[in-house]
């Protein structure tokens, strides 16, 4: 449905998007993930024909964004980060305008407007001025505007930013309802958002594509390792922190032990396991056998945030490595 190849977008001095390629199948919900300033909005703007690409191509339903922008625009519903609302209009009037702008005929417009107002639960505020609406309602009006012409592709730029938890849940529900009929791309920098509503995720960082995979795969792949918080009582500075750390590191399956500041006569550590290893019982046995008092042993789930950081960090490292290789190539092989 959406095909992006070698997409690059340069602004005057910066490269916002750098050689990104991906494909999105019809009917998928895809999360577009990245920290602020990663190039999410820019990519979306290229897909909606708001900005032209500097290099590479992007096409929607087989139509190129540069060659056939009208056909692309007809097939896309777009909700920018700030919903494009006219504060002086009422909700019904605004949807009427937006619908006609997107080419809905006068005969159908009233029916379509009613349908989307029902879908987005806007019936109550139908005749209210948009300037009087709360943020959550505005977001929903923005969404209604994006789906009014029943587009094949929905592009939503941070649809839940700035909403309260209840409103976030409402928007998520709404997206789930829409999922069957439309291909949806939503951008966000909140990872739980992706876990909740997306099937696939595309991660970009600093304008580069970092990973693209299904959400389940990604979490499985990176959640193979376990992280455990360990607290040990140490009245009067005994046992010594270094000693404990050493012992914990010797437990089989442990990859890393991080010592944290002692508090109220307790030492605490965060222990990470190797891929696919269960270490909690071994840890407990090891501590008890040494004669120390174990006061807490708690699994810490790797959040998507950490996964994301790992991924982007790994990417940076990999980049460095290849650079090094390049540097070393001209030299004679040492090994």
């Amino acid at each position: 449905m959406i095909k992006v190849e070698g997409l690059t977008k340069r602004y005057a001095r910066t490269v916002a998007v750098d050689n990104i390629s991906f494909e999105i199948e019809k009917g998928q919900i895809v999360g577009f993930l990245g920290p602020n300033g990663a190039g999410k909005t820019t990519t979306m703007r290229v897909l909606t024909c708001f900005l032209p690409p500097s290099a590479g191509t992007a096409s929607v339903a087989g139509y190129d964004v540069l060659e056939n922008p009208m056909e692309v625009k007809k097939r896309i519903g777009y909700l920018p980060e700030t919903p494009p609302l006219y504060p002086e209009m009422d909700v019904a009037g605004y949807l009427d305008f937006a619908g006609r702008l997107k080419g809905i005929s006068s005969a159908d417009i009233a029916k379509r407007a009613d349908e989307v107002m029902e879908k987005c639960a806007l019936g109550d505020v139908r005749y209210k001025l948009i300037s009087k609406l709360s943020k959550g309602y505005r977001q929903r009006v923005g969404l209604a505007q994006a789906i009014i012409h029943n587009p094949d592709v929905l592009i939503l730029d941070e649809p839940t930013s700035g909403l309260d938890p209840k409103q976030i849940i409402e928007i998520r529900e709404l997206l789930k309802h829409l999922a069957g009929e439309h291909t949806i791309i939503l951008s966000t920098h909140i990872l739980s958002e992706v876990e909740h509503s997306c099937e696939r995720v595309i991660i970009i960082s600093q304008g580069k594509l970092v990973a693209t995979d299904s959400v389940a795969n990604l979490t499985n792949r990176l959640r193979g390792s376990e992280s455990v918080a360990v607290e040990i009582e140490a009245p009067g500075g005994h046992p010594a922190s270094a000693e404990v750390q050493q012992r914990l590191e010797q437990v089989s399956g442990v990859s890393r032990v991080v010592s944290k500041d002692p508090k109220d006569g307790r030492m605490s550590f965060e222990v990470e396991s190797l891929q696919g290893r269960q270490i909690r019982s071994d840890l407990a046995r090891s501590v008890v056998n040494a004669g120390w008092n174990l006061s807490e042993l708690r699994p810490v789930g790797l959040s998507l945030e950490e996964i994301f950081l790992q991924l982007t960090a790994a990417e940076a490292k990999a980049g460095k490595k290849t650079d090094k290789k390049k540097d070393e190539q001209p030299e004679a092989p040492k090994q």
Binding site: T48, C49, F50, L51, P52, M70, K73, K74, I76, Y78, P80, E81, T82, P84, L85, Y86, P87, E88, M89, G93, F97, A98, R100, L101, K102, G103, Q145
Partner: protein
């Protein structure tokens, strides 16, 4: 065409839900009314004197009231236009609604022409306030209607030019105040061009004089419908709208 009408209607609505349309109409109606009162009073005094003394040149409502008044109106228009056009694009750029327009299946030129037409409708409404006063002259006097019509045509065309210039300037900034200020300055400059050339001669000054919109209005005010002036205004409007749509297109490349 459908899209032009749609955008035009939207612009007109947004003018008339805010106080700006009513303010401009009231402001213009008041100033024009004061001008009308003064001119009429002068004419009456003058003709009264003529009656007492006898003789003198014959009185003419067209020459003595309508022509200077509509000339006056064309000057006031210079001040009104920035207030009409400053929000056209600057506001949409600021609030981000421009993204809705530019990502909808509508041609850039349709957006530009629609917006300009919306501004034109408001301008016509403002100008319409003067018809109230002029109608009084027709009710109680016998002015010649043809030169009046020509003068109004001139006012409309001149307004179209200034609105196109204002629309162009509005695309260049996000800030309405800047858009309004620059438009006002440019309108003033176009007005002053004719003064500048008054004491100069030569090719340069005749080119400048030709560019002055006020010079071209003079003929309309006299009741002379010259195709040269009409062509000047129309081509200026086309040029302005063309520049505006180019400038809007460049938003995509620059932003």
């Amino acid at each position: 065409m459908k899209n032009i009408l749609l955008i035009c209607r939207k612009e007109v609505n947004s003018y008339f839900v805010s106080p700006i349309a009513y303010l401009l109409m009231a402001f213009f109606g008041l100033i024009f009314g004061v001008g009308f009162y003064t001119a009429t009073r002068q004419l009456m005094q003058y003709s009264f004197q003529m009656q007492m003394q006898g003789g003198g040149p014959s009185m003419n409502v067209n020459e003595q009231i309508i022509r200077p008044l509509l000339g006056f109106a064309s000057t006031i228009a210079l001040f009104l236009v920035p207030m009409i056009t400053m929000r056209l694009f600057a506001e949409e750029k600021k609030t981000g609604t421009i993204e809705l327009l530019l990502t909808s299946p509508v041609r850039d030129l349709d957006i530009v022409v629609g917006k300009w037409a919306g501004a034109m409708v408001l301008y016509l409404c403002v100008l319409g306030m003067s018809v109230l006063d002029v109608a009084l002259l027709f009710a109680w006097g016998k002015p010649d209607w043809k030169p009046v019509l020509v003068a109004y045509l001139g006012l409309i065309l001149q307004g179209g030019v200034l609105l196109a210039v204002g629309a162009f300037i509005s695309t260049t900034t996000k800030n309405q105040i800047i858009a309004g200020g620059v438009t006002f300055f440019v309108c003033l400059l176009l007005w002053l061009l004719s003064w500048f050339t008054e004491f100069n001669s030569g090719a340069f000054s005749s080119v400048v004089n030709y560019l002055s919109i006020v010079t071209h209005f003079d003929n309309f005010a006299k009741g002379v419908l010259d195709s040269k002036d009409v062509v000047f205004y129309l081509s200026f409007i086309f040029f302005g709208l063309f520049l505006t749509s180019r400038s809007m297109e460049s938003l995509r490349w620059r932003s």
